[in-house]
Symmetry: C2
Subunit: 270 residues, 2 copies
Protein backbone atom coordinates (compact mmCIF):
# COMPACT_ATOMS: atom_id res chain seq x y z
CA UNK A 1 0.00 0.00 0.00
CA UNK A 2 1.22 3.50 -0.82
CA UNK A 3 0.45 6.24 1.73
CA UNK A 4 -2.19 6.00 4.42
CA UNK A 5 -4.36 9.06 4.99
CA UNK A 6 -7.05 9.33 7.65
CA UNK A 7 -9.87 6.89 6.99
CA UNK A 8 -7.80 4.47 4.89
CA UNK A 9 -9.11 1.50 6.86
CA UNK A 10 -12.67 2.59 6.10
CA UNK A 11 -11.88 2.78 2.38
CA UNK A 12 -10.20 -0.62 2.48
CA UNK A 13 -13.29 -2.17 4.06
CA UNK A 14 -15.57 -0.36 1.62
CA UNK A 15 -13.57 -1.68 -1.32
CA UNK A 16 -13.32 -5.17 0.20
CA UNK A 17 -9.53 -5.20 0.34
CA UNK A 18 -8.54 -7.98 2.75
CA UNK A 19 -6.40 -6.46 5.55
CA UNK A 20 -4.23 -9.59 5.56
CA UNK A 21 -3.00 -8.78 2.04
CA UNK A 22 -1.15 -5.69 3.26
CA UNK A 23 2.40 -6.46 4.40
CA UNK A 24 4.23 -3.33 3.21
CA UNK A 25 3.19 0.32 3.53
CA UNK A 26 5.19 2.92 1.61
CA UNK A 27 4.89 6.50 2.86
CA UNK A 28 5.85 9.15 0.31
CA UNK A 29 6.14 12.07 2.75
CA UNK A 30 5.08 13.24 6.18
CA UNK A 31 2.04 15.39 5.52
CA UNK A 32 -0.98 14.37 7.57
CA UNK A 33 -3.16 13.41 4.61
CA UNK A 34 -0.60 10.73 3.73
CA UNK A 35 0.02 9.41 7.27
CA UNK A 36 -2.86 9.94 9.70
CA UNK A 37 -4.52 6.61 8.87
CA UNK A 38 -1.57 4.55 10.14
CA UNK A 39 -2.31 4.47 13.90
CA UNK A 40 -5.87 3.32 13.26
CA UNK A 41 -4.86 0.74 10.67
CA UNK A 42 -2.17 -0.73 12.92
CA UNK A 43 -4.57 -0.77 15.86
CA UNK A 44 -7.22 -2.57 13.77
CA UNK A 45 -4.65 -5.09 12.53
CA UNK A 46 -3.95 -5.81 16.20
CA UNK A 47 -7.61 -6.22 17.12
CA UNK A 48 -8.03 -8.60 14.19
CA UNK A 49 -5.24 -10.78 15.59
CA UNK A 50 -2.65 -10.22 12.88
CA UNK A 51 0.63 -12.04 13.58
CA UNK A 52 2.65 -11.31 10.40
CA UNK A 53 5.20 -8.47 10.54
CA UNK A 54 4.06 -5.19 9.04
CA UNK A 55 6.76 -3.28 7.15
CA UNK A 56 6.56 0.49 6.97
CA UNK A 57 8.84 2.50 4.70
CA UNK A 58 9.34 6.23 5.22
CA UNK A 59 11.92 8.83 6.20
CA UNK A 60 13.40 8.35 9.68
CA UNK A 61 11.09 10.97 11.21
CA UNK A 62 8.10 8.71 10.55
CA UNK A 63 9.30 6.15 13.08
CA UNK A 64 10.22 8.89 15.53
CA UNK A 65 6.73 10.43 15.43
CA UNK A 66 4.64 7.31 14.97
CA UNK A 67 6.28 4.90 17.38
CA UNK A 68 5.25 6.71 20.60
CA UNK A 69 1.66 6.75 19.34
CA UNK A 70 1.71 3.03 18.52
CA UNK A 71 3.38 2.23 21.82
CA UNK A 72 0.75 4.18 23.74
CA UNK A 73 -2.40 3.11 21.92
CA UNK A 74 -1.46 -0.40 20.80
CA UNK A 75 0.54 -1.64 23.76
CA UNK A 76 0.34 -5.36 23.16
CA UNK A 77 0.29 -5.83 19.42
CA UNK A 78 0.38 -9.50 18.40
CA UNK A 79 2.64 -8.59 15.46
CA UNK A 80 5.81 -6.58 14.84
CA UNK A 81 5.87 -3.20 13.12
CA UNK A 82 9.17 -2.96 11.27
CA UNK A 83 10.25 0.50 10.16
CA UNK A 84 12.54 0.91 7.16
CA UNK A 85 14.15 4.32 6.75
CA UNK A 86 14.16 5.94 3.31
CA UNK A 87 16.80 8.47 2.29
CA UNK A 88 14.60 10.95 0.41
CA UNK A 89 17.49 12.46 -1.56
CA UNK A 90 18.97 9.36 -3.21
CA UNK A 91 17.28 6.95 -5.62
CA UNK A 92 17.57 3.44 -4.20
CA UNK A 93 15.96 0.01 -4.09
CA UNK A 94 14.05 -0.33 -0.81
CA UNK A 95 12.40 -3.71 -1.26
CA UNK A 96 12.82 -6.78 -3.43
CA UNK A 97 11.32 -10.25 -3.53
CA UNK A 98 10.71 -12.83 -6.24
CA UNK A 99 7.75 -10.90 -7.62
CA UNK A 100 8.57 -7.21 -7.45
CA UNK A 101 11.27 -4.65 -6.87
CA UNK A 102 10.40 -1.32 -5.25
CA UNK A 103 12.63 1.71 -5.56
CA UNK A 104 12.33 5.36 -4.55
CA UNK A 105 13.36 8.55 -6.28
CA UNK A 106 13.23 12.14 -4.99
CA UNK A 107 10.37 14.37 -6.11
CA UNK A 108 9.99 18.10 -5.49
CA UNK A 109 7.58 19.04 -2.70
CA UNK A 110 7.68 21.43 0.28
CA UNK A 111 9.18 18.73 2.50
CA UNK A 112 11.33 15.66 1.74
CA UNK A 113 9.17 13.52 -0.54
CA UNK A 114 9.75 10.47 -2.67
CA UNK A 115 8.09 8.78 -5.59
CA UNK A 116 7.88 4.99 -5.81
CA UNK A 117 8.66 2.74 -8.72
CA UNK A 118 7.34 -0.83 -8.77
CA UNK A 119 8.89 -3.18 -11.30
CA UNK A 120 7.79 -6.75 -11.65
CA UNK A 121 10.68 -9.21 -11.68
CA UNK A 122 11.30 -10.99 -15.00
CA UNK A 123 8.69 -13.70 -15.36
CA UNK A 124 8.95 -17.35 -16.36
CA UNK A 125 8.53 -18.38 -19.97
CA UNK A 126 5.21 -20.08 -20.68
CA UNK A 127 5.13 -23.78 -21.52
CA UNK A 128 3.89 -24.74 -24.98
CA UNK A 129 2.01 -27.86 -23.85
CA UNK A 130 1.33 -29.25 -27.29
CA UNK A 131 4.97 -29.19 -28.40
CA UNK A 132 6.17 -30.47 -25.03
CA UNK A 133 3.84 -33.45 -25.34
CA UNK A 134 5.12 -34.06 -28.86
CA UNK A 135 8.75 -34.25 -27.62
CA UNK A 136 7.71 -36.24 -24.53
CA UNK A 137 9.01 -33.67 -22.04
CA UNK A 138 8.65 -35.09 -18.49
CA UNK A 139 6.90 -32.93 -15.86
CA UNK A 140 10.01 -32.56 -13.69
CA UNK A 141 11.76 -30.71 -16.52
CA UNK A 142 9.07 -28.03 -16.90
CA UNK A 143 10.46 -25.66 -14.17
CA UNK A 144 13.80 -25.63 -16.03
CA UNK A 145 12.10 -24.88 -19.34
CA UNK A 146 10.26 -21.98 -17.71
CA UNK A 147 13.65 -20.55 -16.71
CA UNK A 148 14.86 -20.80 -20.32
CA UNK A 149 16.89 -24.03 -20.34
CA UNK A 150 16.92 -26.28 -23.37
CA UNK A 151 15.59 -29.85 -23.16
CA UNK A 152 18.04 -32.69 -23.66
CA UNK A 153 16.36 -35.93 -24.64
CA UNK A 154 17.60 -39.32 -23.37
CA UNK A 155 19.36 -39.96 -26.69
CA UNK A 156 21.22 -36.65 -26.35
CA UNK A 157 19.21 -34.63 -28.81
CA UNK A 158 18.89 -30.95 -27.75
CA UNK A 159 15.51 -29.29 -28.22
CA UNK A 160 15.85 -25.51 -28.10
CA UNK A 161 13.90 -23.79 -25.37
CA UNK A 162 12.34 -21.41 -27.91
CA UNK A 163 10.62 -24.41 -29.51
CA UNK A 164 9.08 -25.61 -26.27
CA UNK A 165 8.03 -22.34 -24.66
CA UNK A 166 6.42 -19.01 -25.37
CA UNK A 167 8.26 -15.82 -24.34
CA UNK A 168 7.60 -14.60 -20.80
CA UNK A 169 5.03 -11.81 -20.61
CA UNK A 170 6.92 -8.54 -20.21
CA UNK A 171 7.27 -7.44 -16.55
CA UNK A 172 4.99 -4.52 -15.79
CA UNK A 173 6.05 -1.30 -14.11
CA UNK A 174 4.14 1.31 -12.12
CA UNK A 175 5.39 4.65 -10.90
CA UNK A 176 3.70 6.74 -8.21
CA UNK A 177 4.46 10.48 -8.00
CA UNK A 178 2.42 12.34 -5.48
CA UNK A 179 2.69 15.88 -4.21
CA UNK A 180 5.36 17.27 -6.46
CA UNK A 181 6.19 19.96 -8.92
CA UNK A 182 6.87 18.61 -12.41
CA UNK A 183 10.56 17.84 -12.50
CA UNK A 184 13.15 16.62 -15.01
CA UNK A 185 14.59 14.03 -12.66
CA UNK A 186 11.15 12.48 -12.32
CA UNK A 187 10.95 12.11 -16.09
CA UNK A 188 14.22 10.17 -15.96
CA UNK A 189 13.05 8.03 -13.04
CA UNK A 190 9.76 6.92 -14.59
CA UNK A 191 10.97 6.55 -18.19
CA UNK A 192 8.83 4.11 -20.16
CA UNK A 193 6.76 2.70 -17.29
CA UNK A 194 3.51 0.97 -18.15
CA UNK A 195 1.50 3.09 -15.76
CA UNK A 196 2.36 6.44 -14.22
CA UNK A 197 0.34 7.95 -11.42
CA UNK A 198 1.11 11.65 -11.23
CA UNK A 199 -0.60 14.22 -9.08
CA UNK A 200 -2.55 16.96 -10.86
CA UNK A 201 -3.74 19.12 -8.00
CA UNK A 202 -4.64 22.10 -10.19
CA UNK A 203 -5.75 23.12 -13.69
CA UNK A 204 -3.35 25.00 -15.98
CA UNK A 205 -4.97 28.30 -15.04
CA UNK A 206 -3.64 27.86 -11.49
CA UNK A 207 -0.07 27.11 -12.60
CA UNK A 208 1.38 29.84 -10.42
CA UNK A 209 -0.42 28.56 -7.33
CA UNK A 210 0.66 25.01 -8.21
CA UNK A 211 4.29 26.15 -8.38
CA UNK A 212 4.03 28.09 -5.11
CA UNK A 213 2.54 25.12 -3.24
CA UNK A 214 4.90 22.60 -4.91
CA UNK A 215 2.12 20.86 -6.84
CA UNK A 216 1.45 20.20 -10.54
CA UNK A 217 -1.25 21.09 -13.02
CA UNK A 218 -3.04 18.51 -15.16
CA UNK A 219 -1.17 19.80 -18.21
CA UNK A 220 2.20 19.49 -16.45
CA UNK A 221 1.45 15.94 -15.30
CA UNK A 222 0.57 15.02 -18.87
CA UNK A 223 3.80 16.61 -20.14
CA UNK A 224 5.80 14.46 -17.69
CA UNK A 225 3.99 11.39 -19.03
CA UNK A 226 4.71 12.43 -22.62
CA UNK A 227 8.38 13.26 -22.01
CA UNK A 228 8.89 10.02 -20.06
CA UNK A 229 7.24 8.00 -22.80
CA UNK A 230 5.01 6.09 -20.40
CA UNK A 231 2.18 3.92 -21.70
CA UNK A 232 -0.65 5.23 -19.56
CA UNK A 233 -1.18 8.12 -17.13
CA UNK A 234 -3.39 8.29 -14.06
CA UNK A 235 -3.98 11.72 -12.57
CA UNK A 236 -5.21 12.34 -9.03
CA UNK A 237 -4.86 14.39 -5.80
CA UNK A 238 -7.20 17.08 -7.11
CA UNK A 239 -7.85 20.28 -5.19
CA UNK A 240 -11.28 20.20 -3.57
CA UNK A 241 -12.13 23.36 -5.54
CA UNK A 242 -12.87 21.20 -8.60
CA UNK A 243 -16.29 19.58 -8.30
CA UNK A 244 -16.28 18.47 -11.92
CA UNK A 245 -13.07 16.74 -12.90
CA UNK A 246 -13.76 16.42 -16.63
CA UNK A 247 -12.01 19.72 -17.55
CA UNK A 248 -8.90 18.49 -15.71
CA UNK A 249 -8.99 15.26 -17.64
CA UNK A 250 -9.56 17.09 -20.93
CA UNK A 251 -6.59 19.36 -20.23
CA UNK A 252 -4.32 16.39 -19.57
CA UNK A 253 -5.56 14.49 -22.62
CA UNK A 254 -4.72 17.41 -24.91
CA UNK A 255 -1.07 16.68 -24.09
CA UNK A 256 -1.23 12.95 -23.32
CA UNK A 257 -4.34 11.23 -24.70
CA UNK A 258 -4.02 7.96 -22.75
CA UNK A 259 -4.86 9.63 -19.43
CA UNK A 260 -7.42 8.50 -16.89
CA UNK A 261 -8.76 9.88 -13.63
CA UNK A 262 -7.69 8.05 -10.45
CA UNK A 263 -11.13 8.00 -8.90
CA UNK A 264 -11.47 6.45 -5.45
CA UNK A 265 -12.33 2.77 -5.61
CA UNK A 266 -11.49 2.29 -9.29
CA UNK A 267 -9.38 -0.71 -10.30
CA UNK A 268 -7.03 -0.31 -13.28
CA UNK A 269 -5.79 -3.37 -15.13
CA UNK A 270 -2.52 -3.36 -17.06
CA UNK B 1 -17.71 17.76 20.49
CA UNK B 2 -17.28 14.55 22.46
CA UNK B 3 -14.55 12.16 21.34
CA UNK B 4 -12.91 12.20 17.94
CA UNK B 5 -12.33 8.85 16.25
CA UNK B 6 -10.63 8.40 12.91
CA UNK B 7 -12.63 9.98 10.11
CA UNK B 8 -14.51 12.44 12.34
CA UNK B 9 -13.78 15.30 9.97
CA UNK B 10 -15.29 13.31 7.10
CA UNK B 11 -18.45 12.70 9.14
CA UNK B 12 -18.62 16.38 10.10
CA UNK B 13 -18.45 17.38 6.45
CA UNK B 14 -20.99 14.73 5.47
CA UNK B 15 -23.41 16.01 8.11
CA UNK B 16 -22.73 19.65 7.24
CA UNK B 17 -21.46 20.58 10.69
CA UNK B 18 -19.58 23.87 10.32
CA UNK B 19 -16.00 23.36 11.59
CA UNK B 20 -16.05 26.87 13.09
CA UNK B 21 -18.73 25.79 15.56
CA UNK B 22 -16.35 23.46 17.36
CA UNK B 23 -14.39 25.20 20.12
CA UNK B 24 -14.22 22.44 22.73
CA UNK B 25 -13.41 18.76 22.27
CA UNK B 26 -13.98 16.42 25.21
CA UNK B 27 -12.09 13.12 25.10
CA UNK B 28 -13.55 10.38 27.31
CA UNK B 29 -10.55 8.05 27.22
CA UNK B 30 -7.42 7.22 25.27
CA UNK B 31 -8.47 4.35 23.05
CA UNK B 32 -7.69 4.95 19.39
CA UNK B 33 -11.31 4.88 18.21
CA UNK B 34 -11.97 7.91 20.43
CA UNK B 35 -8.82 9.89 19.57
CA UNK B 36 -7.31 9.12 16.17
CA UNK B 37 -9.35 11.80 14.38
CA UNK B 38 -7.76 14.66 16.32
CA UNK B 39 -4.52 15.17 14.35
CA UNK B 40 -6.44 15.36 11.07
CA UNK B 41 -9.13 17.64 12.47
CA UNK B 42 -6.57 20.03 13.94
CA UNK B 43 -4.59 20.00 10.71
CA UNK B 44 -7.74 20.77 8.67
CA UNK B 45 -8.69 23.58 11.06
CA UNK B 46 -5.25 25.03 10.32
CA UNK B 47 -5.60 24.71 6.55
CA UNK B 48 -8.98 26.44 6.76
CA UNK B 49 -7.35 29.41 8.51
CA UNK B 50 -8.93 29.01 11.95
CA UNK B 51 -7.71 31.63 14.43
CA UNK B 52 -9.87 30.87 17.50
CA UNK B 53 -8.33 28.78 20.28
CA UNK B 54 -9.30 25.10 20.28
CA UNK B 55 -9.79 23.62 23.75
CA UNK B 56 -9.16 19.92 24.24
CA UNK B 57 -10.11 18.15 27.46
CA UNK B 58 -8.62 14.78 28.38
CA UNK B 59 -6.35 13.04 30.84
CA UNK B 60 -2.79 14.40 30.96
CA UNK B 61 -1.48 11.60 28.72
CA UNK B 62 -3.51 12.98 25.83
CA UNK B 63 -1.39 16.11 25.63
CA UNK B 64 1.79 14.08 26.12
CA UNK B 65 0.99 11.79 23.18
CA UNK B 66 -0.79 14.22 20.87
CA UNK B 67 1.40 17.31 21.17
CA UNK B 68 4.47 15.85 19.44
CA UNK B 69 2.23 14.78 16.53
CA UNK B 70 0.65 18.23 16.26
CA UNK B 71 4.03 19.92 16.55
CA UNK B 72 5.43 17.76 13.77
CA UNK B 73 2.56 17.77 11.30
CA UNK B 74 1.02 21.17 11.97
CA UNK B 75 4.07 23.30 12.63
CA UNK B 76 2.60 26.71 12.00
CA UNK B 77 -1.00 26.53 13.15
CA UNK B 78 -2.76 29.91 12.96
CA UNK B 79 -4.58 29.08 16.22
CA UNK B 80 -3.73 27.79 19.68
CA UNK B 81 -4.53 24.29 20.89
CA UNK B 82 -5.18 24.53 24.61
CA UNK B 83 -5.09 21.29 26.58
CA UNK B 84 -7.08 20.93 29.80
CA UNK B 85 -6.19 17.98 31.97
CA UNK B 86 -8.99 15.88 33.43
CA UNK B 87 -8.58 13.91 36.65
CA UNK B 88 -10.40 10.71 35.66
CA UNK B 89 -11.00 9.62 39.25
CA UNK B 90 -12.79 12.67 40.67
CA UNK B 91 -16.08 14.21 39.53
CA UNK B 92 -15.48 17.88 38.73
CA UNK B 93 -16.64 20.81 36.63
CA UNK B 94 -14.26 21.21 33.70
CA UNK B 95 -15.94 24.01 31.77
CA UNK B 96 -18.52 26.72 32.39
CA UNK B 97 -19.84 29.68 30.45
CA UNK B 98 -23.13 31.58 30.38
CA UNK B 99 -24.86 28.81 28.44
CA UNK B 100 -23.62 25.51 29.74
CA UNK B 101 -21.69 23.76 32.48
CA UNK B 102 -19.71 20.62 31.67
CA UNK B 103 -18.62 18.17 34.34
CA UNK B 104 -16.96 14.78 34.33
CA UNK B 105 -17.51 11.67 36.40
CA UNK B 106 -15.54 8.40 36.43
CA UNK B 107 -16.94 5.41 34.56
CA UNK B 108 -15.62 1.85 34.63
CA UNK B 109 -13.55 0.82 31.61
CA UNK B 110 -10.24 -0.97 31.07
CA UNK B 111 -8.33 2.32 31.23
CA UNK B 112 -9.09 5.65 32.97
CA UNK B 113 -12.33 6.83 31.38
CA UNK B 114 -14.85 9.56 32.15
CA UNK B 115 -18.44 10.33 31.35
CA UNK B 116 -19.54 13.89 30.58
CA UNK B 117 -22.53 15.78 31.94
CA UNK B 118 -23.78 18.87 30.13
CA UNK B 119 -26.16 21.11 32.04
CA UNK B 120 -27.64 24.23 30.52
CA UNK B 121 -27.34 27.25 32.81
CA UNK B 122 -30.63 28.61 34.19
CA UNK B 123 -32.30 30.53 31.41
CA UNK B 124 -33.96 33.96 31.33
CA UNK B 125 -37.67 34.33 31.97
CA UNK B 126 -39.68 35.05 28.81
CA UNK B 127 -41.29 38.48 28.38
CA UNK B 128 -45.09 38.61 28.21
CA UNK B 129 -45.26 41.30 25.53
CA UNK B 130 -48.96 41.97 25.79
CA UNK B 131 -48.95 42.61 29.56
CA UNK B 132 -45.72 44.64 29.34
CA UNK B 133 -47.33 46.90 26.74
CA UNK B 134 -50.40 47.25 28.96
CA UNK B 135 -48.22 48.47 31.87
CA UNK B 136 -46.06 50.62 29.57
CA UNK B 137 -42.81 48.83 30.41
CA UNK B 138 -39.91 50.63 28.65
CA UNK B 139 -37.51 48.54 26.53
CA UNK B 140 -34.52 49.28 28.77
CA UNK B 141 -36.22 47.47 31.65
CA UNK B 142 -36.76 44.20 29.76
CA UNK B 143 -33.31 42.67 30.55
CA UNK B 144 -34.05 43.15 34.27
CA UNK B 145 -37.46 41.52 33.93
CA UNK B 146 -35.85 38.54 32.20
CA UNK B 147 -33.62 38.11 35.25
CA UNK B 148 -36.69 38.10 37.54
CA UNK B 149 -36.83 41.71 38.84
CA UNK B 150 -40.17 43.42 39.49
CA UNK B 151 -41.13 46.56 37.53
CA UNK B 152 -41.50 49.80 39.50
CA UNK B 153 -43.63 52.37 37.68
CA UNK B 154 -42.81 56.12 37.84
CA UNK B 155 -45.55 56.62 40.42
CA UNK B 156 -43.99 53.95 42.65
CA UNK B 157 -46.43 51.15 41.92
CA UNK B 158 -44.73 47.71 41.93
CA UNK B 159 -45.77 45.24 39.23
CA UNK B 160 -44.72 41.72 40.20
CA UNK B 161 -42.34 40.00 37.77
CA UNK B 162 -44.63 36.97 37.59
CA UNK B 163 -47.31 39.19 36.02
CA UNK B 164 -44.98 40.46 33.27
CA UNK B 165 -43.06 37.30 32.37
CA UNK B 166 -43.45 33.61 31.71
CA UNK B 167 -41.27 31.15 33.63
CA UNK B 168 -37.91 30.34 32.07
CA UNK B 169 -37.88 27.09 30.14
CA UNK B 170 -36.21 24.42 32.30
CA UNK B 171 -32.48 23.99 31.59
CA UNK B 172 -31.80 20.77 29.74
CA UNK B 173 -29.20 18.20 30.68
CA UNK B 174 -27.36 15.56 28.67
CA UNK B 175 -25.08 12.84 29.96
CA UNK B 176 -22.65 10.84 27.84
CA UNK B 177 -21.37 7.48 29.10
CA UNK B 178 -19.23 5.63 26.66
CA UNK B 179 -17.17 2.48 27.06
CA UNK B 180 -18.12 1.42 30.55
CA UNK B 181 -19.54 -1.36 32.59
CA UNK B 182 -22.87 -0.46 34.20
CA UNK B 183 -22.00 1.13 37.51
CA UNK B 184 -23.81 2.50 40.55
CA UNK B 185 -21.80 5.71 40.67
CA UNK B 186 -22.87 6.44 37.09
CA UNK B 187 -26.50 6.16 38.15
CA UNK B 188 -25.85 8.82 40.80
CA UNK B 189 -23.98 11.05 38.36
CA UNK B 190 -26.66 11.10 35.66
CA UNK B 191 -29.71 11.17 37.95
CA UNK B 192 -32.74 12.70 36.25
CA UNK B 193 -31.03 14.02 33.11
CA UNK B 194 -33.19 14.77 30.10
CA UNK B 195 -31.11 12.64 27.78
CA UNK B 196 -28.67 9.89 28.60
CA UNK B 197 -26.34 8.40 26.03
CA UNK B 198 -25.10 5.07 27.30
CA UNK B 199 -23.03 2.54 25.42
CA UNK B 200 -24.65 -0.83 24.69
CA UNK B 201 -21.88 -2.74 22.98
CA UNK B 202 -23.52 -6.15 23.41
CA UNK B 203 -26.86 -7.93 23.77
CA UNK B 204 -27.82 -9.53 27.08
CA UNK B 205 -26.71 -12.94 25.82
CA UNK B 206 -23.11 -11.65 25.76
CA UNK B 207 -23.23 -10.26 29.31
CA UNK B 208 -20.15 -12.21 30.38
CA UNK B 209 -18.13 -10.91 27.41
CA UNK B 210 -19.42 -7.41 28.12
CA UNK B 211 -18.20 -7.66 31.70
CA UNK B 212 -14.84 -9.07 30.67
CA UNK B 213 -14.23 -6.27 28.14
CA UNK B 214 -15.62 -3.57 30.46
CA UNK B 215 -18.64 -2.85 28.29
CA UNK B 216 -22.42 -2.94 28.82
CA UNK B 217 -25.33 -4.84 27.33
CA UNK B 218 -28.44 -3.10 25.97
CA UNK B 219 -30.38 -4.40 28.97
CA UNK B 220 -27.82 -3.03 31.42
CA UNK B 221 -27.80 0.38 29.74
CA UNK B 222 -31.57 0.50 30.00
CA UNK B 223 -31.39 -0.47 33.68
CA UNK B 224 -29.02 2.46 34.33
CA UNK B 225 -31.50 4.77 32.60
CA UNK B 226 -34.37 3.36 34.67
CA UNK B 227 -32.52 3.53 37.99
CA UNK B 228 -31.28 7.06 37.28
CA UNK B 229 -34.79 8.19 36.33
CA UNK B 230 -33.66 9.86 33.12
CA UNK B 231 -36.22 11.08 30.58
CA UNK B 232 -34.79 9.50 27.46
CA UNK B 233 -32.06 6.99 26.61
CA UNK B 234 -29.85 6.78 23.55
CA UNK B 235 -27.86 3.60 23.08
CA UNK B 236 -24.83 3.27 20.81
CA UNK B 237 -21.26 1.89 20.38
CA UNK B 238 -22.57 -1.45 19.11
CA UNK B 239 -20.26 -4.35 18.42
CA UNK B 240 -19.84 -4.81 14.67
CA UNK B 241 -21.18 -8.35 15.09
CA UNK B 242 -24.73 -6.94 15.10
CA UNK B 243 -25.84 -6.16 11.56
CA UNK B 244 -29.45 -5.66 12.62
CA UNK B 245 -29.79 -3.39 15.64
CA UNK B 246 -33.51 -3.85 16.24
CA UNK B 247 -33.09 -6.75 18.72
CA UNK B 248 -30.72 -4.55 20.76
CA UNK B 249 -33.28 -1.77 20.79
CA UNK B 250 -36.09 -4.18 21.70
CA UNK B 251 -34.02 -5.55 24.58
CA UNK B 252 -33.39 -2.06 25.96
CA UNK B 253 -37.02 -1.02 25.53
CA UNK B 254 -38.21 -3.98 27.59
CA UNK B 255 -36.53 -2.29 30.56
CA UNK B 256 -36.71 1.37 29.52
CA UNK B 257 -39.30 2.07 26.82
CA UNK B 258 -38.14 5.58 25.90
CA UNK B 259 -34.94 4.32 24.27
CA UNK B 260 -33.61 5.19 20.84
CA UNK B 261 -30.71 4.08 18.70
CA UNK B 262 -27.86 6.59 18.31
CA UNK B 263 -27.46 6.06 14.59
CA UNK B 264 -24.73 8.02 12.81
CA UNK B 265 -25.97 11.33 11.46
CA UNK B 266 -29.23 11.40 13.42
CA UNK B 267 -30.22 14.62 15.21
CA UNK B 268 -32.16 14.31 18.46
CA UNK B 269 -34.19 17.25 19.74
CA UNK B 270 -34.97 17.68 23.41
Amino acid sequence: MIDCGEGTQVQLRRNKVHFGKIDHVFISHLHGDHVFGLPGLISSFGLLGRTKDLHIYGIADLEAVLLPVINYFSRELPFKVVFHHIDPYEPSIIFEDSVVEVSVFPVEHRIPTVGFLFREQPKDRKINKEICDFYGVPLRVLPKLKKGEDFIRDEGEIIANEKLTFPAPPPLSYAFCTDTRPNGSIIEAVKGVDLLYHEATFMGAQEELACKTFHSTARQAAQVALDAGVKQLLVGHFSSRYRDLSPLLAEAREVFPNTRIAKEGTVFDA
